[in-house]
C-alpha cells in the first residue's frame, strides 16, 4: 500500500521539479541578442530593433534567403515607450544596442543632440529617395544623414460600420467622409452617436484624439528655437479644453491608449471611431482580430494630419556597421516599404513608392476591402505641414497625456489637471 503511493508522490515531485526548471530556463532565455556579432556557423548576425508593427517579418526572411553572409533577426518592443527606454539606456552605456535601431519621430530631436553616436548614412544611392521634409529632419546640423526614413503617418478615420448602422449613421466610406470635415463636425456626430448607442464610446482614447490634434499644431510645445511654450500656447490649451469637455460628454472610452483595457476594448465594442495613421491599421487588425465591420474613411478632421513615422539608424557602437547600413538601405528602399505597407499599413515616406501602382492598388480585406493605398496616399497629400518637435517634445507630451488621463479618471477636474500640467512643464525645465 505504502510503496505505490510514495512512488506516485515522487513522480509528481519530479514532474513539478522539471516544470520548475523549465520555467526558470524559459525566464532566463529571454535575452540573447547582445552577444558577439556572428552566429555559430560564422555568418555575421545583424539585429534590427523595432516597436509596434513595422511589417518587417517577411522582408527579413526574404533578405536572409537572398544572401549567405548575413543572418538578420528582429527584436520587437511592444510599445514605442519601451523601445525608447531601452535605446536611451544602451546608448548611455555605450554598448548593447542592436545593429539597426528604429527611432520614432517624436523623440528624434532629443537623440539628434547625440548624433555622434550614430553612423552617417549619407550615400549617393539614396539621395532624393524620401520626401524632402523627411530627409531634412534626419540631417544633423553638420550635414550628416542620421536615419533612413521608413514610414510616415498620414491619418484617416477608422470606424466600425456595423456600429454606425446601429446608430442610424451612414456606413459607406464616401458618405462617412462627408461627416468629418472639421473637429466640430466630428464631435457633433459623436454626440449624436453616443445618444443613440449609449454603451459605446465615440473614440478609443482621449489621449489619442489629443495627440492627433496636437500633431496639427505647427508649434505646439516648443517654438522654432526650441524654447518651451507649452504653458502659454493658446492652441495647446484649446486642445486640452476640447478633449476634456468631450470626455465629459461621454465621447471617450476614458481608457489609456496602449493599456490592457484599451486593447481589450477592441474586442468588446468599446468605441466606434479612431484617428488612424497608416501604421495603426496593423495595430487595429491585430487587436480586433475576428471583429467584423472595420472600415476607413478618406478624411481627417481639420484637413490632414501626420502622426508619427520612423527612421532606421545605425548606432556607431555596432560591430558590423557596414553590413547594417546595407541592410537599412535595402529595408527602406521603395519596393520593400511597399511590402511592409501591404503587411502592416506602414505608409511609405519614399517618393517613388507614392505613385507606384503596387501601393495605390493595395486594398485591405479586413477594412471591408477599402483601397487603403489610395486613401492614405491622398491623406498624405492633405498634410499641410509637419509639426515641429524639439528635444523636449516627448517629455512634455507625456505630461500632457497624463493630465488628460487624470481628467478621464476623475482624479482631477479639468482646471486642476491643467494647473498640474503647468507645474510638470515647469519641472521639466
Amino acid at each position: 500500500m505504502q510503496t505505490p503511493n510514495t512512488r506516485r508522490v515522487r513522480l509528481a515531485t519530479s514532474a513539478l521539479l522539471a516544470l520548475t526548471l523549465a520555467t526558470t530556463a524559459a525566464a532566463c532565455g529571454g535575452d540573447d541578442g547582445d552577444e558577439g556579432g556572428t552566429t555559430a556557423d560564422g555568418k555575421i548576425k545583424l539585429t534590427v530593433a523595432t516597436f509596434n508593427e513595422f511589417g518587417y517579418e517577411e522582408l527579413i526572411e526574404e533578405y536572409n534567403a537572398m544572401q549567405d553572409e548575413v543572418v538578420v533577426e528582429q527584436k520587437k518592443a511592444g510599445t514605442a515607450n519601451e523601445h525608447q527606454d531601452n535605446l536611451y539606456t544602451k546608448l548611455a552605456a555605450g554598448s548593447g544596442l542592436s545593429d539597426i535601431e528604429a527611432i520614432e519621430v517624436d523623440w528624434w530631436a532629443a537623440l539628434m543632440e547625440q548624433s555622434d553616436a550614430f553612423v552617417d548614412l549619407s550615400d549617393p544611392e539614396v539621395e532624393s529617395r524620401w520626401l524632402d521634409w523627411k530627409t531634412e529632419a534626419a540631417t544633423s546640423p553638420d550635414g550628416a544623414l542620421i536615419g533612413y526614413g521608413t514610414d510616415i503617418g498620414p491619418e484617416g478615420i477608422c470606424y466600425r460600420s456595423d456600429l454606425f448602422k446601429k446608430a442610424g449613421l451612414p456606413t459607406d466610406r464616401e458618405e462617412v467622409a462627408q461627416l468629418f470635415g472639421t473637429w466640430d463636425d466630428y464631435f457633433e456626430t459623436g454626440r449624436d452617436f453616443v445618444e443613440k448607442v449609449p454603451d459605446v464610446a465615440w473614440y478609443d482614447a482621449s489621449g489619442a484624439t489629443a495627440q492627433a490634434m496636437i500633431n496639427q499644431v505647427e508649434y505646439s510645445f516648443e517654438d522654432e528655437d526650441n524654447n518651451v511654450i507649452a504653458a502659454d500656447n493658446p492652441e495647446v490649451k484649446e486642445v486640452f479644453d476640447t478633449v476634456t469637455a468631450m470626455a465629459e460628454e461621454g465621447l471617450s472610452t476614458n481608457l489609456v491608449q496602449w493599456s490592457e483595457d484599451w486593447t481589450a476594448s477592441f474586442q468588446d465594442d468599446g468605441f466606434a471611431t479612431m484617428a488612424c495613421p497608416g501604421w495603426m491599421l496593423g495595430v487595429i487588425e491585430g487587436n480586433a482580430e475576428g471583429v467584423k465591420g472595420w472600415d476607413i474613411a478618406n478624411v481627417f478632421p481639420g484637413g490632414g494630419g501626420n502622426w508619427g513615422g520612423s527612421y532606421l539608424t545605425v548606432p556607431a557602437q555596432g560591430d558590423n556597421v557596414e553590413e547594417a547600413k546595407e541592410l537599412a538601405k535595402w529595408l527602406t528602399a521603395p519596393e520593400q516599404q511597399i511590402k511592409a505597407f501591404q503587411a502592416k499599413g506602414t505608409f511609405p515616406s519614399q517618393v517613388d513608392a507614392l505613385d507606384d501602382p503596387a501601393l495605390t492598388g493595395t486594398t485591405s480585406e479586413f477594412f471591408n476591402g477599402a483601397p487603403t493605398g489610395e486613401i492614405l496616399a491622398e491623406r498624405a497629400e492633405a498634410v499641410p505641414f509637419i509639426a515641429h518637435k524639439g528635444p523636449k517634445f516627448a517629455d512634455i507630451n507625456t505630461a500632457f497625456q497624463q493630465a488628460i488621463q487624470r481628467v478621464d479618471e476623475g482624479k482631477e477636474s479639468a482646471d486642476e489637471a491643467w494647473d498640474s500640467f503647468l507645474a510638470d512643464v515647469e519641472r521639466l525645465g
Binding site: 546608448l91 489609456v256 490592457e260 483595457d261 482624479k411
Partner: protein, 335 residues
Amino acid sequence: MKAGSTAVKPVGDAGSPVSPTGGRPDIEGVRRAAWRQRLSRLDTLVSPYVFVSPFFLLFVVVGMFPLAYTAWVSVHDWGLLAGRGDFAGADNYRRVLEDRYFWNALRNTISIFLLSSIPQVLIALGLAGLLDTQLRARGLWRMSVLLPFVVAPAAVALIFGNVFGDRYGLANEVVQAIGLDPIRWHVDTLASHLAIASMVNWRWTGYNALIFLAAMQAVPRDVYESAALDGAGRIRQFVSMTVPMIRPTVLFVVITSTIGGLQIFAEPRLFDTQGLGGSDRQYQTLTMYLWELGWRVRDLGMASAVAWLLFLIIIIFALVNLLVSRRAGTLRGQR
C-alpha cells in the same frame, strides 16, 4: 631505529648546556621554533579572513564601488547621454527634496511596502507551520510554494495586469459577480497599491515560507511532545514555541523583505503603459522615480541623489526593524 635516533639528536644538542660552541645552533633552533609558533598563531588569526576575503573583494567591486561612484555622480551635473558636467555640490539633493514627486514616491513606497511585507511575513509563517506538519506528499507541497518565485517578474506583471484590468479584468468580474461596484485598480491609490502588493506577495511568500520552514525543522521535536503533554494545542504551540524559537530567522526575513520591499520596481513599473506609476503617479515608487529622473528626464545626477537617499532610508528602516524585533523578542522571552 636509525631515523629515530637522528631525530632525537638535535633535541639533545639543543638541550645540552655543556658545549660552548653549541650555543649558536641552539639559539637558531629556538628561533626557528618561535618563528613556526608565530606563523601558526598568525595562521589561526589570519586564515579565516583570507578564506572569506573573496566575498569582500567582490563586494568592494560590485557593492562599494558603485556606491561610491553613485555618490560622486550625485554631486555633479550629469546627463544620461551628455555625461559629466560641472560640480554641483548638494544641489541635486536639494532639487530632489524640493520635488513634490519625491515625497509622493516615498509615501507610495512605504504604503506598498507595508501592504506587501506584513501580510507576506505572516502568511509565510503560517504556511511554513502547515508545511512543517506530517503532510502527505510533503515534497510536492513544499516545492509548489516556491513555484511563483521562479516565474519572471515581467510575466507576473503581465498576468496580473490582465487580472486587475479596470474594465475587462478577471478580478473585477469576480467583484461584480458578488454584486459590488468594479474597483478601479489602475486609478485609485489604495486599490492600485493593493494590486501591486498582491503581485509582490504572490512572488515572495512561498520563498519566505521555505526559509521559515528550514528554521522550524531545527526546533527539537521533544519540546513539542512535552508541550502536548502539558495540554498545549497546535496553535498555542505554534505561537508560543515555534515562532519565538525561530526568532533569528524571522528577524532575517523581516530585514530582507524590508530591503526588497523598499526597492519594488518591476511590478509597479509594468502596471501602466507610461511607466510613471499612473496618471497622478499614484503608484510611482522611489525606484521608479529614480528611473524616471535618470532615463526619462535624463538627469543622472539627480537620479544618483535619489539612489543615495533611498540607501539612507533603507538603513533607517532596517535599524528600526532590528530594534523593534529585538524588543518584541525580549519582551516575549521575559514573559
